[in-house]
């Protein structure tokens, strides 16, 4: 079998993604990429197996960065701290208590009048667009809604949100590569430093004056469950903020694109809004806002005739798995009455996304509000994508009214 010569990650643009995934699933479902220095898995069954494997761990970038910092004589303190938070969050023994703490804290958001406040915010954004005749459903709808929710949760002042959002968008590119470049990690280190410092200050202020926001609750729960330093806690908060903001923004604007591209789907949902949860589930499956996650195994595992050794990085292509025809019939279309397996939008197994329910709620609300605007339609220059490949939101999704 001839080796695939392309770099699947660089070439995974929205236009070519489907073709490349199909080729990989068909020809090389378990593929060791020298370019990525990792195994690449694309079939639903294989991806699902590794996600749920009892010996699977989240890929640890921190140890790579420590070695890079040492051998390259680079100061990557903040980025290593950020990645160490992810490692602690996703590996025993911290995994369980930190996950419990964050899940419990996130539950608080439902007692903060979030649905009403988010709906009001969506109405305001759409009304502003309607007055101007145009709206960017990415930068002017998906992004601000996602930022509003996570900002509300943490109790971040509105004036700080824009800057924090920009830093989060920088830092999330850490998930673009298993092996990042020196210039990239230096840039990421600056973003990590600024965000961690911000959350250290926010935590300190909540220690002084505790409130009813998520940060105050996290501080109390951390004291109860973890007994960790505020610096470590700031790392968890930074990760949570970064992971929640950009992925949900991407999901909202991507779902809006799917809706506005499909008139029959839009008509069906307008006629029968009870189908909205199924439709959003399918939109998320098609989009898969996080296209891949990386894992490592504690033991050797044989898959599709290939031996994956313990410790080797494994890139799990969630986007490819979610369009695998072996798991989903008619995989490239939203099928509202689908009876297939659970999609892997939020991964699966012990590291399944903590914010899955909240993110789904945000997308549903954003799409429901769009359905109330029957005259909105995509402009001819839409969509414009970012050049990122993993968490790759729309840069621009211009739409007009009337």
């Amino acid at each position: 079998m001839p080796a695939l010569s392309y770099d699947p990650l660089s070439e995974l643009g929205p236009a070519s993604r489907g073709r490349i995934y199909a080729e990989l699933r068909e020809r090389m479902p378990v593929y060791k990429s020298s370019v990525l220095a990792a195994w690449v898995l694309t079939r639903y069954a294989d991806v699902s197996t590794i996600l749920r494997h009892p010996d699977a761990l989240a890929f640890e970038l921190a140890s790579f960065l420590r070695a890079l910092s040492q051998r390259g004589n680079l100061d990557l303190t903040s980025l290593i701290e950020f990645c160490s938070s992810i490692s602690l969050l996703t590996r025993p023994p911290r995994h369980e208590p930190v996950r419990r703490m964050l899940t419990q804290a996130l539950g608080r958001i439902w007692r903060m009048n979030l649905p009403e406040r988010l709906e009001l915010h969506a109405d305001q954004l759409l009304a502003s667009g309607e007055r101007q005749g145009v709206i960017d459903l990415a930068a002017g709808y998906g992004c601000p809604l996602a930022l509003f929710v996570i900002g509300t949760f943490f109790g971040v002042p509105e004036d700080d949100l824009r800057e924090l959002g920009a830093l989060a968008r920088d830092l999330i590119t850490v998930f673009e590569r298993v092996v990042p470049s020196v210039s990239t990690v230096i840039k990421l280190d600056k973003a990590a430093a600024a965000l961690i410092e911000y959350f250290v200050r926010l935590i300190a202020s909540r220690r002084q004056n505790s409130g009813d926001d998520g940060t105050s609750l996290i501080v109390r729960l951390a004291d109860e469950y973890l007994g960790c330093s505020d610096q470590e806690l700031a790392g968890y908060c930074t990760f949570f903020f970064v992971a929640a903001e950009e992925t949900t923004a991407s999901a909202i604007s991507g779902a809006a694109l799917i809706l506005l591209q499909r008139q029959s789907l839009r008509a069906r949902l307008s006629h029968d809004p009870s189908q909205l949860p199924n439709a959003v589930g399918e939109m998320l499956r098609l989009l898969t806002p996080v296209q891949w996650v990386a894992r490592q195994l504690r033991i050797d595992v044989s898959l599709e005739g290939q031996l994956i050794r313990a410790g080797e990085p494994i890139v799990l292509m969630l986007g490819a798995a979610n369009r695998d025809p072996a798991a989903f019939s008619n995989p490239d279309e939203p099928v509202l009455d689908r009876n297939g397996p659970e999609s892997l939008v939020f991964a699966a197994g012990p590291y399944r996304c903590i914010g899955a329910q909240l993110a789904t709620f945000e997308v549903e609300l954003a799409i429901r509000k769009l359905l109330e605007k029957p005259h909105i339609r995509l402009s001819s220059d839409s969509p414009v994508w970012t050049d990122r490949r993993n968490i790759a939101p729309l840069l621009q999704l211009q739409a007009c009214f009337g």
């Binding site: 390259g72 590569r177 990042p180 470049s181 020196v182």
Partner: protein
Amino acid sequence: MTTEETLAEWVRDHVAKVRDVVRESITLDQWFSSYGLDSVDAVVMAGELEEDFGIEIDPARFLACDSFGQLITTLAPDIDKAGERRVRS
């Protein structure tokens, strides 16, 4: 000296320094793993090349090669282009 020759000298110097061996023992048909080097060393080397030659290098391009010779052939055109841009500006 051509760009490829300059790069070959640079690679020999770099690997000899990192592995603490004599530069004459470095052959260009070999690759990182032959000298006990890994992907971290590749990223460090890519970073130093970026600095010394004023080009941007995605580590993926490094990792796609299977010898220093192939790496040199891959990078030389980029370095020439960067040089032309500098002359023009």
